[in-house]
Amino acid sequence: MPATDTPESRDPPPPRDLHEPGLALHVEDLTVSYQRQPALWDIDLDIPPGVMAAIVGPNGAGKSTLVKAVLGLVAPVAGHVRLFGRRYREIRRRVGYVPQRSSVDWDFPTTVLDVVMMGLYGRLGWFRRPGARERAEARAALEQVAMQDYAGRQISQLSGGQQQRVFIARALVQRADIYFLDEPMAGVDATTERAIVEILKGLRDSGKTVIVVHHDLQTVRRYFDWLVILNQRVVAQGPVGDVYTAENLRAAYGGQVALLEAGPGEGGAMDAAEGSPP
């Protein structure tokens, strides 16, 4: 799958034209299918800059697929994507990506510092080797995630939470303007989760846009200020306060309708919904 294949390659408009420049992420009519099975259907999405947004939805809702389609890892059938009004391939370096931890082989022979420096490969370009400056930047990023003591460690010796921190450091070192994280809180302990949330909030507070595929409805209101509820289509999107309603969650998580209605108040209803999704 060629890296430069973006959905809008056949679009007519002139290349310099900015499309919705005021939005950090703008997705229009995006449809993705795997083996003729639609995974995402007609997605329209707008996320303003400077928010910390969660993408939630049941298993198979296409949360990861949406992120991958935005980043050109999955070729969409239709639709187009703009980041700060530009195509992805034009502003690649302003985008940081934290894939799912399980997407790589952690027994690969390399060190923590090496992995973090991979975040700078895009900036270095062909043939140039990372040097002292890159190492210093990588160390600084490791410090941000409190992993500086592990720089020389072989990655196979890390715990799950430490792996996640290393992946986040690899994205931080890019100094991007918008970050996409795929399930960063999955399978990490409570301490690490708190640390990760603090880092992400810090990014948001410095004006970056943070978009997180999230699985835990219980923490949505505490961690995030923007919410996208997804189930192959966009069920609802907007500020968390407006979107996080029993009705919307019922629409996305379907099967839990009874549970949702059985809940005493809003909080109880939410808790009921949280028990079953992935």
Binding site: A3, R92, T111
Partner: protein, 391 residues
């Protein structure tokens, strides 16, 4: 003197140089193949080369190395393409695609081989030597070709080092960073095919994949970084190649290729067993040490609690009783504790059973363990219930 004369043997020199080149190129490229879980791809490429060799022979009208290797390379490339297409376009998984392509290409190769051999005159050119390799058939002029391909492969790996590293570790991230991952993966596969084709003459289509996998798999056991893995794999490849060549030169009729492969797998076996941290023996030793450490701690705590139960810090515990509490002999654990100055033997008379008491340091250590060491499995159950009775 004789060794020198023997080493200056022209044929052996040629074979050894070829083995060194092959060891380097297959070690370096094999590292990437193994890390990218493409070990089986090497097997397919080498088996699929056979029909190419036969066609090259037929087209060139004789045993001309250039033509046959070109045919081998083309056939291997076609096979790799088939695997890719089958895995992508059908519902078959990659392993099934690999198996199918390997068998079909090899079958075609064997059919062609028998056809070539049955042809009057043309035949006995020794095409069967490509099945298991024939190192002695290598000419000095072939070395130039091998050297050129090896140099090219090394130059490419060096030039695109960080790209190959990133693509091998995290291809998705490489795509997002803007690298043409598919092109890089194809480049690696093409180079692995080249290395395999180079080795066919020496090691043969059946065993060549071992040259790609074995040095890299062995090297992986010893290293922490890709740089070290690639260098060590090249070294292992060279050692296997040289050793195999020299052994086969010692006796008539010992096939060089299989010997090289045997040496390489010997290195793998040693590495799997012994490599620090990853080796099998290493983890056994670590487990044994851990078990011993726990036992020692438990015995110390037992003595401490017995003494506390009797209100006498210098309470002498009989060794047989400590054995009974632990359901096992504790003499070694007690000796280890004594060596650390935590207990001392107070059974002075030869006719009485050995008795042990804790030193002050022993009590201090036991209290330290009790304070923060409730994690010792079995420590609770091993602690004796002392009711005040005499031992």
């Amino acid at each position: 003197m004789t060794v020198l004369a023997w080493l200056s043997d022209y044929t052996l020199q040629t074979v050894m140089m070829g083995a060194v080149l092959l060891g380097v190129v297959s070690g370096v490229l094999g590292s990437f193949a193994v890390l990218r879980r493409q070990s089986l791809m090497g097997d397919v490429l080498s088996h699929a080369a056979l029909p190419g060799i036969c066609l090259g022979f037929l087209v060139a009208g004789g045993r001309e190395l250039g033509g046959m290797l070109a045919g081998a390379f083309a056939a291997a490339g076609l096979a790799a393409l088939c695997v890719l297409l089958i895995a992508r376009q059908t519902r078959l998984k990659t392993d099934a695609a690999l198996g199918i392509v390997l068998s079909v290409f090899f079958a075609v190769g064997v059919v062609l081989l028998s056809y070539v051999q049955s042809r009057a005159g043309a035949g006995q050119a020794g095409l069967t030597s490509f099945l298991f390799g024939q190192a002695a058939a290598i000419l000095r002029s072939d070395l130039w070709l091998m050297g050129a391909v090896t140099a090219l492969a090394l130059a490419v790996v060096l030039a695109f080092w960080k790209e190959f590293k990133l693509t091998s570790f995290d291809p998705g991230y490489a795509v997002v960073a803007g690298y043409p991952v598919l092109a890089l993966e194809i480049a690696l596969t093409v180079m692995i095919a080249l290395a395999i084709v180079l080795g066919l003459q020496m090691v043969g289509v059946v065993l060549m994949t071992a040259m790609v996998i074995a040095p890299a798999a062995a090297a992986r056991q010893w290293v922490r970084r890709l740089e070290a893995m690639v260098l060590l794999a090249a070294l292992f490849g060279v050692v296997a190649g040289l050793t195999g060549a020299v052994i086969s030169a010692q006796a008539r009729g010992l096939a060089t290729g299989p010997l090289i492969v045997l040496v390489a797998t010997g290195i793998v076996a040693v590495s799997l067993l012994l490599a620090p941290g990853r080796g099998v023996l290493w983890s056994w030793a670590a487990r044994l040490q851990e078990a011993r450490r726990l036992r020692t701690r438990q015995v110390l705590l037992t003595l401490h609690r017995l003494a506390e139960g009797h209100g006498d810090p210098a309470y002498p515990s009989e060794q047989g009783m400590v054995d009974a509490y632990h359901g096992a002999a504790t003499r070694r654990a007690l000796s280890r504790l004594a060596a650390r100055g935590l207990v001392r033997d107070v059974g002075h008379h030869p006719e009485t059973a050995p008795h042990w008491e804790l030193t002050d340091a022993g009590h201090a250590e036991a209290r330290r363990l009790e304070a923060g060491a409730n994690d010792i499995p079995g420590a609770e159950s091993a602690a004796p219930e002392v009711t005040g009775g005499k031992p």
